[in-house]
Symmetry: C2
Subunit: 249 residues, 2 copies
DNA sequence: GTACGAAGTTGATATGGATCAATTTGGACG
DNA sequence: CGTCCAAATTGATCCATATCAACTTCGTAC
């Protein structure tokens, strides 16, 4: 079966960050063009995960950080009681696993929300490389610090804001992240289920659903299933008024 | 006035991490004895802040991270609306400012909760040093990663746990941090006001107050003002049952 | 010691969102 | 193309905690 699909036989497995469209978002961002190959030397590029597959599992040995190349990832912690807490959503260009660099094992589980391609950075090699490349080290600090801030913003959202404010903030966060990738900031498809949104934002699914319809009735958004259109970004920003305007990721 | 207090005139201002009792908690933890002086070369030791004084202010130029030597620090974010969100409490041996390494300015304000002494690590020198010392770099990654995890734990606490569970978790967190310093884990003085606890945990002050008295009536703690005695640690741990047992900091 | 403002406690009431329950929609698969 | 199960929506009720209000305690200054 199958017509002959051109397979790049003997194609070098060596990564090509040079050609990656995300090089201005990902780790290469910090590196001079001529040093890029040092990063390419350590990265394992292009592993594919289908929807629902785990990139790594909480409590298994920590080996690598992963950059999302395409698709999207959800990270979550499972408590002893078996409860899940979604800790983040990761889009192309973003680095997953930074919260695991303090132990021998992964601190959370990372799951592909759709068919997802990732680049793997073995942590030992990455650390070795950042030791030699001050800019790359600086960028790692930057990313980790950013993640701390994001998490603080989330904590703030959870402790001080209403359901509407939380959801508006999430929509705006996604919007700006799509925009960074030069995709439409007002017309996109949510990679995650309502359930994940609810869990992430500390709400019940029913509440998320109700807020979506309320926003829709107010003409702020148009939503059918996972397809979302932001009709009034200004108004959404106003909803988050009491809250730090810049969103949380 | 004053009998002659022996002042170490001409005492070198150079720090002595060697002699610091916190060297097993602080950055020196990662370093071989014989390399310690490289850290001592860059640290500015022993700056004192009185209760209420700011170690640094949100939005001012980011220059340094600070290790708490004695006393304690509260970090908080001020939103545009002027609302405060407490993002953390820092005790001796802990490093403040890691959330600011992604920008030109401090991401939060750090305030001394009591008379507090800190060691200052100018960020440029620190980055330069971690570039040369793999163990120190690894330790920085470790600390930052830890802070991400802490923040995730806090987010979880805020989104999934009751007032009682949150407060029990905070008390146990403080307890274990006192224990690390070889102080009593059951008998200590809270460095922060009820207000700060409430803000940090996303509760109203009144709720914090009520839970304290409830815990007291149940014989779990004895509290008078800021003096706290944990009478039944087991029971407190049970209160946090549904929640990650290890606390959040 | 006394005065005064800040911090903490206690009580009464209101409410946003959880929970429970029922229904509808949607997507995967035979 | 219908079947089946998961996801999403909608409605009704309940509850933990916020809010409002009054009072007490504490710490500091005079």
């Amino acid at each position: 079966m199958a017509q002959a699909i051109p397979i790049r036989k003997n194609s070098p497995l060596k990564a090509s960050c040079h050609q990656c469209s995300l090089s201005n978002l990902c780790l290469p961002l910090a590196i001079e063009e001529n040093e890029l190959e040092r990063l390419e030397d350590i990265v394992l590029q292009g592993r594919i995960f289908n929807r629902g597959e785990h990139i790594f599992d909480q409590s298994t040995p920590f080996r690598s950080c992963f950059a999302v190349k395409s698709g999207s990832i959800k990270t979550s912690i499972i408590t002893e009681g078996g409860e899940e807490q979604v800790t983040g959503f990761f889009m192309p260009g973003e680095l997953v696993g930074l919260d695991s660099m303090s132990g021998e094992t992964y601190a959370c589980t990372a799951k592909a929300l759709e068919r997802t391609s990732v680049c793997e950075f073995p942590i030992e090699k990455l650390e070795e490389l950042t030791g030699k490349m001050p800019e790359l080290q600086h960028h790692m600090y930057h990313l980790m610090s950013q993640e701390i801030q994001n998490s603080h913003q989330l904590a703030m959202l959870l402790s001080k804001n209403t359901a509407e404010e939380r959801i508006a903030a999430l929509l705006l966060s996604l919007s700006s992240r799509f925009q960074r990738r030069r995709l439409s900031p007002t017309n996109f498809s949510l990679p995650m289920a309502r359930n994940d949104i609810a869990n992430f934002l500390g709400l019940a699914v029913e509440t998320v659903s109700r807020v979506f319809t309320r926003f829709q009735n107010q003409g702020l958004i148009r939503a059918r299933g996972r397809e979302v259109e932001l009709l009034d970004v200004e108004a959404l920003q106003t909803v988050t008024r009491e809250f730090s305007r810049q969103g949380f990721q």
